[in-house]
Symmetry: C2
Amino acid sequence: MSTDVQLIGLDWGTSSLRAYLYDADGKVVASRQQSWGIRNVPEGGFAGALQAITADWPACVAMAAGMIGSRQGWREVPYVALPADAASIAHGMLRVDGCGSHELWIAPGLQRRQPADVMRGEETQIIGALAQQPQHEVNMRFVLPGTHSKWATVVDGRITAFDTVMTGEIYALLIKHSILGAGLPSDPAQPFWAEAFVRGVLVARESGAEGIFSRLFSTRALMLAGELSPVHVPDFLSGLLIGEEFRLARLRDNGGVTPLCLIGDTSLCERYALAAQHFDYASPAVIDNAAAQGLWQLASAAGLLTKAKLHSFSGVTP
Amino acid sequence: MSTDVQLIGLDWGTSSLRAYLYDADGKVVASRQQSWGIRNVPEGGFAGALQAITADWPACVAMAAGMIGSRQGWREVPYVALPADAASIAHGMLRVDGCGSHELWIAPGLQRRQPADVMRGEETQIIGALAQQPQHEVNMRFVLPGTHSKWATVVDGRITAFDTVMTGEIYALLIKHSILGAGLPSDPAQPFWAEAFVRGVLVARESGAEGIFSRLFSTRALMLAGELSPVHVPDFLSGLLIGEEFRLARLRDNGGVTPLCLIGDTSLCERYALAAQHFDYASPAVIDNAAAQGLWQLASAAGLLTKAKLHSFSGVTP
């Protein structure tokens, strides 16, 4: 490794730890992944995990984002308020005392006051995705589908609002534990039934101001009536829940249509792109993972890259 | 027992079986309860359960309502369409062949076509509650809170619409299995925190056309921010979910306020009555259990009481 190495970035969530090594231009020159999320740190704790995942990498400044900054993480970093951008998030970063191996900084998450909502880690992905947009004054909505989907509104390049929708978690609960999932065939290799998915999306769209809460049981009623095949139930339900996210998004749009950018797992993003069509959105941009770029952007905004350069010039191991 | 006995009524659901013995005036002169719901019938099956729970009662016509008429029950009785009243429900009743001990009839459930929804058993409670109203041309909404809450609209004494909301089931899933229930104190003797409940109700009310789907996670965010005590989380969440039912009801009201009648468990009905206040409803009537009266009404509409009388006069055991 050359003295050009500037930074180690850590995307440290609940269930996994990803580490990135960057050169002086912000290009990722090496990356590693472990299942050492904060709920599953190996012996040696957080410090041991950091040393192990960066073993034989040059010593340079490190910065982390995600649940590692939560109360259950290495050091709790207070949330930053909205509106937020790379500068305000960088301003909220805190250094971990006594890390030993590295000068380590942790990024804060974001907090919305009313209604109460929080995120940790997604803000870094959004900052990374923003850096990929052609113009600086971006106005769009970033969608990070998953267990707890995040929808973040960006106005003039700043995050002004966001919502968490527990889509993935509620889907899993309903399929695994509720009457809606009772008696379904368990086929791990089940294909994606796009038609059943779209049917669920349309039920959500047609629900208007009522939303899907009183429509969930229709999954059962349709199955009992022989109008929905048991094999189609999971995708119908997926469409219903994802459709509800889009119904909410359109309410926030106030009649206009804010361009969307999806960040996440490709097959999940495909579902969202399909649902988007039925809510009159243009085909959304899709970014698989923006964490690496976001970590670099935040480190840059925090002035850590200059420090890293000093370190590598002087050869000092902090 | 005298020859005045007219009818045996069976409220036969998923998890319990209740039997009522009526005199010629429709008064319940004896009742029994067992945990012999259709998922838990004793040895001897449905016929054995019926014989056992009516042991030493006079032989007379019997009629049942509830999940006993479902595909998993004794005999599947097709749903009846809306609008429905005692006459149309009675018209849909089917007799069980080869019951042996009794002339047994099973009431149908109700089906709404669009959006798809079904009920089995609640229709009988509503018919029973309707019979308790002072005037015949009733216009009100009957609410049966529970695992799957039912809201039924009655216009001029006929059930014209209904919705199933999976409030109780989703509440249990969220508390037991989701992140919202993680780390809560488990106190079986927890009191009812009315203030936390009302707070959740108000969040639902203020959510407007968005509804609570994007508000569920606020439970977590408020707890993380120290603005909601972990002991208050269950009642806050209960308020949020029950509040959503009322938000939907007000949308159906089209600006007016339809009088409410609650049917069910007293402590659960108290929560609904409290939520109702915050949605501008007048204090709702509360009926603990209307199944016994509903069974009698349906038997009467089906002409079974005359038959029963003939039987008891002639002394014939059918």
